[in-house]
């Protein structure tokens, strides 16, 4: 019997996310009531998507590792943590041990919190459960304790429901989305940071009334900063020139220099186009399960007022958000160069900046300059969070079975590697273990308690309507 279990465990360990996740997704979709044929097809697509994502991450990780090493060697500047983007983070999170369990766990948290009237949000955005698994997988990386990672993911799910409720009136009014809330990991958690900053801007004369015109910004910056492919090409060429210049000037190998620079440019342009396509395949595979989960949850939710929790992608078409994000792209690149102690080479997640600032829209009444200022501060803090989290994210990627190139650079992504919440969780897990998880539960309970006592005031603070 023992021998059987050992070999079974050996098989499971060797299979990894590409086989294991589809198998679990298949059974889970059946339990939620999806038709077997559909469930099977979507399970296979998920496995296929993981293989695609793995290939593209391999291409990107290899190319960025090469140039990062070249930059260190030739300029002495250390930028050896590469930004592999949220599609990679999502794949790592879903492919981790915690990711296998996150969908049922987060649904359970939501059902329980709805039943106890601790939240109004019904989170149907199954895809974005990866944010919960991301923090959970980092907790596993730091503690080695899978169960603690699952508990951490459950707690993040709870925190996100709280943030979603808190910001819902603001989001609904500003973006004209009645009945919607945003329990999205990359957006919601920034509110506690944005409120004091916005208050501070109010105190500075002159700055207070400054705004910018969204159309001009989009016309001037849109074609380059708004097009990930062109952005990838430019970044690749610039990094290539910095990294490989000595090949020409010192070794006289100009031919090698040109080949290296242009190859890097087209490789990184390819990553910017292909990685999102692969994630789109993963998304396609998750549709049947998220539909089944949505119906399952809606049948069980009572008739009282409910917010439907959605992806913050529905917010970021707003002209103020697009414009502020375009302005923040060059700012973010500049920060990655000048911030002292920074080791992060920004790349794939330059496209994710709109998510970071979307929740500032209502708070700043759509003022672009304010969103840029608050966004800049958020990014500065984010860089240091990212530098701290990179070793763990790299470890989590290895644990999830992603192939590392030789002498690999460390990896990070803005979503959610630049976010305080995962770092906060990891810090508590590392230093206090289970007591840290207990502390987080108490904190969540306290937030829910004080919010429920004075909901209106909290909501206005987050930019909600006053009447």
């Amino acid at each position: 019997m023992d021998a059987f279990l050992t070999s079974l465990k050996g098989i499971i360990d060797a299979l990894g996310a590409t086989v294991l996740l589809p198998v679990l997704i298949f059974f889970f979709a059946l339990i939620l009531g999806a038709k077997p044929g559909r469930a099977f097809r979507s399970a296979v697509i998920i496995g296929v998507a993981f293989i695609g994502i793995n290939l593209i991450i391999g291409l990107m990780w290899g190319a960025l590792t090469d140039v990062a090493q070249a930059i260190v060697k030739n300029t002495g500047i250390t930028r050896d943590i590469v930004d592999v983007g949220w599609p990679s983070a999502a794949a790592i999170a879903f492919g981790s041990n915690v990711g296998l369990w996150v969908i049922p766990i987060a649904l359970l948290v939501n059902v329980v919190m709805l039943a106890l009237r601790l939240t109004k949000t019904l989170n149907v955005d199954i895809w974005n459960f990866w944010h919960f698994a991301f923090t959970g997988s980092l907790v596993v990386a730091v503690t080695g304790n899978l169960f603690m990672g699952i508990v951490a993911a459950a707690l993040v799910a709870g925190f996100m429901l709280f943030f979603a409720d808190w910001t819902a009136p603001a989001v609904q009014k500003f973006y004209n989305l009645p009945g919607i809330s945003i329990p999205h990991g990359t957006s919601a958690g920034y509110v506690p940071l944005a409120i004091p900053l916005n208050w501070l801007i109010d105190k500075i004369p002159g700055l207070k009334k400054w705004d910018a015109d969204p159309e001009t910004i989009q016309k001037k910056l849109g074609p380059t900063a708004g097009d990930p492919m062109i952005l990838g090409l430019i970044i690749g060429i610039v990094l290539g020139v910095i990294g490989f210049l000595k090949m020409g000037t010192v070794d006289g190998n100009w031919q090698g220099f040109i080949v290296n620079v242009l190859k890097l440019g087209i490789n990184l342009a390819a990553v910017m186009v292909l990685l999102p396509r692969m994630v789109s395949i993963l998304m396609e595979g998750l549709i049947p399960i998220s539909e089944a989960a949505r119906e399952f949850m809606q049948k069980r939710a009572s008739k009282r007022e409910i917010y439907i929790g959605l992806d913050s992608a529905i917010l970021i078409g707003h002209p103020a958000v697009i414009s502020a994000a375009l302005l923040l792209v060059p700012i973010a690149i500049l920060l990655s160069v000048i911030l002292p102690g920074n080791r992060i080479l920004l790349f794939a997640d330059l496209a994710v900046i709109p998510f970071v600032i979307a929740i500032f829209g209502p708070l700043t009444r759509g003022n672009i300059i304010r969103m840029v200022i608050i966004g800049t501060f958020t990014l500065i803090i984010g860089f240091y969070v990212g530098n701290a989290l990179a070793p763990l994210m790299t470890q989590a990627a290895a644990a999830a079975g992603f192939a590392m190139p030789e002498g690999a650079a460390l990896i990070i992504s803005i979503a959610d590697g630049f976010i305080w919440l995962p770092l906060f969780f990891v810090f508590l897990a590392q230093n206090l273990g289970w007591a840290g998880m207990g502390l987080l539960l108490v904190l969540l309970a306290a937030l829910l308690f004080f919010y429920s006592k004075n909901a209106k005031k909290w909501e206005v603070m987050a930019g909600g309507p006053t009447e």
Partner: protein
């Protein structure tokens, strides 16, 4: 053979929410017998694709006056009113 209709599906990233919408429209049009080409794009890219489209479905705010019918696709994400929205899309494509 009917002319293939072009539908643009816009969202914040052209990845996540627009995939959900695109797949639903694809299935509905297949059932209704409308040959359809679906292009996913980001909200900011819509103006440059609008002229080639018969219909735009979006999950995020878009600029006005695109010269093409625009339908709100939030129902695909919330599940509330999804059938009506699909019907609206099919009818708009049949008329156009």
């Amino acid at each position: 053979m009917e002319k293939t209709k072009t539908v643009i599906v816009a969202c914040g990233t052209a990845i996540a929410t627009s995939t959900v919408v695109a797949k639903s429209i694809e299935e509905a049009c297949k059932l209704a017998g409308i040959p359809v080409f679906i292009k996913q794009c980001k909200a900011a890219e819509v103006p440059s694709y609008a002229s080639s489209a018969d219909l735009i479905v979006t999950t995020t705010p878009l600029p006005a006056n695109l010269g093409v019918p625009v339908i709100q696709g939030l129902a695909f994400l919330t599940g509330i009113g999804k059938e009506q929205t699909l019907q609206q899309i099919v009818e708009t494509l049949k008329e156009g």
